[in-house]
Amino acid sequence: MKKNKIILSHGSGGKLMYALIENIFLKNFKNEILEKLYDSAIIEFKEFDLCFTTDSYTVNPIFFPGGDIGKLAVCGTINDLSVSGAIPFYISSSFIIEEGLDISILERIVISMKKMAERSKIKIVTGDTKVVEKGKIDKIFINTSGIGIKKKNVKLSIDRIEENDVVIINGEIAEHGLAVLLSRNTFNIDSDIKSDCAPLNELINLLLEKPEGIKFMRDPTRGGLSSTLNEIVKNSNFGIVIYEDKIPIKKEVLSICEILGFDPLNIANEGKVIIICGKKESEWILKKMRENKYGKRAQIIGEVIKEPKGKVIMETKLGTTRIIEMSLGEEFPRIC
């Protein structure tokens, strides 16, 4: 057992994955663009910035309440570009398909991708197809990459975050991870929970009309709210406090988390964005967000504080506080 092997936790968005990125990928690929580790690479030009991102999708099952692997692949890449402050334009799509998959299933997935692309006004402009022997992968994996344009007046950076800035989320949490998990039928729980999988470019474009107050954005996908907030405060000279009674969550989601012993803060979202902005601008931002379909339940959930530095804490409904750790996430593999 001297040789270390890849275990599932290495792919779960938690601490082990960050160790892998740092010790293997960053160490070998190191350059000034990659080392920022933002959702998109930002390549600077004179008039604008080019944002470039990529993501692979391996979700199981490939169809789940509220979405499918194709919708997820398009929305995921759109969202990575959008939270970087870019307007997404073009996407690539590569398919790795298991021998024996029904072509009708492939087409269902492709049509779902087409619909999402049309709705979000982006084009899928290049792609690739590989087929592997039966049993070598599970049905179908998809990779999408995307490029978008960021205006020079959009300046998103963790360095701009200051004490008293507020933390906003656009709606209810923990739905994607739970919907996928429950659709595997392992728990025999009937529920109406649907994945929140959605393209966020329209919502975010609205806010980019007046980008000055927006300090930073990120989508709390794998690892949930707790991981994203911890990524933001990590190595910084501020902390974040969130308020348990302000975090939007559906009753049904809360109930099922209770039954299964999950913390909703650790569960993945696919249509959510965390925005850190100045207090002064937050009112306008909330108003704008609530005008959009995907921002109706937008809400301030927390604030940036001076101490404890580098930590996320939560004020519970009891009035006590507790530390929110980065999730370890390995309980549910292949949710995206």
Partner: protein, 365 residues
């Protein structure tokens, strides 16, 4: 599901909390109250209840997490069996990361791929029926709460004449462990918050010995923050009045006689034996083993594996002392920096319900 918010109304909690403060001023000395259930440990952490307590009330965590108390050689045996031909190991997810003497199931899975997480022994039995060419081993751990389900699974397997399903039996009983703690010389426990789920099965009578022999009050508690705070209040009242009784705070679920059906099936399928607890050692009559008539399902009978006993102390790990309530994770030199959920040294960090894990998640300074 209703009644989540109802049990978490801040006003009610604050009222009881005020009463706790009042009572605490009447105490003659500092008191140590121990919970013996991992889920209680987590609730206390998650809602910051420990920090809420007046200074003279100390909440400590006992050996209440079934994963934490499974000894190294249980994992070692499971790993040895997993190396045999045509074997599939099925286990509760929490066991995957538990360190054995040299490896863990999670690491072994990456090598051989024949270790699977299930949510119920019945799922493991189903896997056995669907994979007749393989032998399916279920790693059977847990306290009185889990035992009836495993017993039922064994009975179904016997009725259906399933030949390729086995359990590696590491089930344990809670009251003997509580008594063992009190029999230790330098024990300083003043009251027990007794486990709600275990009590659903065993009822209230097994704790009477504790109250009568040791003069220690016991309160069977539910799992809402409200339940725990109320249980603490009851314990304080009893300590002040020097009343040493078993009180059932979790009446909405726990009956005095327990669950008779569940108790019967445990008796039908299992014998009570001495059992090793990680960090504590052998505790008399604290474990379960399949009765002779069910021994065809015993993985240790099917596969004779010789596990060397490694009694090496895990590099200054004080989990044993923590499980006994003598120390807290903050007393451990490994806590946080060396021992954390990614790299757990001792059992209390491994399980999400372990004391160290709960401290790491919710109470780090």
């Amino acid at each position: 599901m209703r009644f989540i918010e109802e049990y978490r109304k801040p006003e009610i909690q604050k009222r009881i909390y005020k009463e706790i403060q009042r009572k605490s001023s009447l105490l003659k000395k500092n008191v140590n109250l121990m919970e013996v259930c991992g889920t209680h440990t987590m609730v206390i952490g998650r809602y910051g209840i420990r920090k809420l307590m007046p200074e003279n009330i100390n909440l400590i965590s006992g050996p209440g997490c079934p994963v934490c108390v499974s000894p190294e050689n249980f994992i070692d045996t499971a790993i040895e069996i997993s190396k045999k031909k045509d074997v599939m190991i099925t286990t509760f997810g929490d066991m995957m990361k538990v360190p054995g003497s040299f490896s863990s199931l999670e690491k072994e899975k990456a090598i051989r791929g024949n270790i699977f997480v299930v949510y119920s022994p019945l799922d493991a039995l189903k896997i056995a029926e669907e994979n007749l060419e393989k032998n399916i081993i279920f790693l059977s751990i847990g306290f009185e709460t889990t035992a009836p389900l495993i017993a039922q699974t064994i009975k179904i397997a016997k009725e259906k004449k399933i030949k390729n399903f086995f359990i590696l039996c590491g089930n344990k009983l809670i009251p003997p462990a509580m008594i063992n703690l009190l029999e230790e010389k330098d024990t300083n426990i003043d009251g027990f918050i007794c486990p709600g789920h275990v009590s659903v099965i065993i009822g209230t009578s097994p704790y009477i010995e504790i109250t009568e022999r040791f003069n220690i009050p016991c309160v069977i508690s539910g799992f809402e923050p409200f339940d725990i705070i109320l249980s603490i209040y009851i314990l304080l009242s009893n300590l002040i009045e020097e009343k040493y009784e078993v009180i059932n705070e979790y009446k909405r679920t726990v009956k005095e006689e327990g669950n008779l059906k569940a108790k019967k099936i445990i008796e039908e399928v299992f014998d009570i034996v001495d059992s090793e607890w990680r960090g504590i050692g052998i505790i008399k009559n604290s474990g379960l083993k399949l009765k002779k008539e069910f021994e065809n399902f015993d993985a240790e009978k099917r596969y004779e594996v010789n596990i060397k006993k490694y009694s090496k102390n895990k590099r200054n790990c004080i989990c044993g002392e923590i499980l006994k309530g003598k120390k807290t994770p903050f007393d451990c030199s490994l806590f946080e920096k060396i021992c954390n959920p990614e790299n757990p040294i001792g059992p209390c960090m491994v399980s999400s319900e372990g004391t160290c894990s709960a401290y790491y998640k919710y109470e780090k300074k």
